[in-house]
């Protein structure tokens, strides 16, 4: 049972193909990296997430052409409160990568990536439904799992497990 410590130093990880690709495109887009348990995480600036996805998708060497998952983590009461998490997969190279966008608690919103992968549609609706994070440019941003008239966002940490009484 030995876990190697996580690497968070951008200098050490700048040769990772996905990091290099993003840095070569726009150094401001990458706000941090983490390599932990053989998994690569790149923190992307909120304003650049859609373009970053396009850049990674069109990478000729290792195209991350498949969107596995979009979800969110609520770090209440810390700020920035929300982390929207994207899991990308490269079908030709069998590589995975995780992108993260950090959002503050005041009306959290991030650009939708449905124009890059139409499959992001349901995932973003789910995050909107359960966390209340808005995705700008989403074609049909409505509740998907909870009833339309539901109040609150159940997966937020300040939402009680037993619901409001």
């Amino acid at each position: 049972m030995t876990l190697a410590p996580a690497i968070t130093d951008l200098e050490q990880l700048k040769n990772h193909p996905a990091v290099a690709r993003l840095l070569g495109w726009n150094t401001e887009a990458v706000t941090g990296v983490k390599f932990d348990r053989d998994e690569m995480t790149i923190y992307v600036d909120r304003a650049h997430i859609r373009e970053a996805c396009v850049v990674l998708k069109d990478d000729p060497a290792c195209p991350f052409n498949f969107l596995s998952d979009v979800t969110c983590v609520d770090w209440y009461p810390a700020e920035p409160r929300f982390e929207v998490v994207y899991h990308l997969l490269s079908i030709p190279e069998k590589e995975r990568i995780r992108l993260k966008v950090r959002l503050n608690s005041g009306s959290p919103a991030v650009e939708s990536i449905t124009s890059v992968w139409p499959g992001a549609n349901y995932f973003e609706r789910e995050v909107f439904d359960l966390f209340g994070v808005r995705f700008t440019g989403h074609p049909y941003l409505r509740r998907i799992l909870m009833p339309e008239d539901w109040e609150g966002h159940p997966l937020r940490k300040d939402y009680p497990v037993e619901g409001y009484r």
Partner: protein, 401 residues
Amino acid sequence: MAHLNPTPVLEPGQDRTMILNMGPQHPSTHGVLRVLLEIDGETVVRMMPDIGFLHTGIEKTCEAKFYQQVVPLTDRIDYLCPMTNNLCYVLAVEKLLGLEIPPKAQWLRVLLNELTRINSHLVWLGTHAMDIGALTVFLYCFREREEILKIFEMVSGQRMMTSYFRVGGIALEPPLGFFDRVRDFAGYFPERIDQYENLLTGNPIWAMRTKGVARMTPEDAIALGATGPTLRGSGVDIDLRRDMPYSSYEKFQFKVPVSQEGDVFARYMCRVQELRESTSIVRQALDGMPEGATKADAPGIVLPDREKMKTQMESLIYHFKIITEGFAVPAGEVYQAVESPRGEMGYYIVSDGTAKPYRVHMRSACFANLQTLPKMCEGRLLADVVAAIGSIDIVLGEIDR
């Protein structure tokens, strides 16, 4: 979910079209899927799946449970392949912990996983064929499924909600006679697949209802996030068992069936061939089953054997502590994906260093596969909607969670 909303989700276009509501109690929607269809005569103009009727908040519930208490919840997500969900969850937690699993436990997990795949595909084949009108297949499929459920009952005490895998290994050694029974099953099952194929594959009515129906191009399938046989039926050759192996899958020889046509028949062929490949993996697992322990050597995480717990003080203390306090997992996050019968089943677990997961997210294959449905059905006949729904093999428990 729009069932409480009085306003219709689809606005009727011109007066040519009408809105047809299908489900959520329609038998061929495999549970509680509701589909809103805008139809022009017999042609589907627009389609909108409506989900959420089975939402039980499992992800929220997980946050209030110890790591080991989440295992039974994972069965209930996808009730047709409980072992796959168990496996994916325990693999994710083991990755968080950095835990090494003994080979025998890994091989047993593979063995049971492939039986689960056969079980799930049998339910799919039976119900899919029944939806289209071939009633007999259902009876044959459930005959074999019964045997698998009995095997599950033998190892875990449960027919469907097995909860057999544990963080660090498996719950119990398989009982006496288990391997013989599985070998018996693996011996006669290929013949039974021939029987199903005799009923369907060359059947002209089956071909008319499935060939060329609900086509999807590989580009669309990738863009919409389809995985598993839904993706492989469109000619994209990816299988996580082979390409990103977990739990010793790299030690097994198997082919990944791929069809190029992208229609209902292609997806049918993929799954039927997977039945044969799974049987071969089961046989390989039986032949090469390693000896040794079935639980990792991690006293603070793995429950001690019953015998030791009753006779040794330390084991009793560990047992008490694990049950009452759980075990702390080092802070971090992992995404672990496995190839479930329906596609990529992924668990994203975030730990904050305590004994309860901070966040558990289930990436369900059906949730993404369901998005391909409008692409398959729009512009096609209404009767083909049923064939298309059957062909993506949805389980609503997994979609709604």
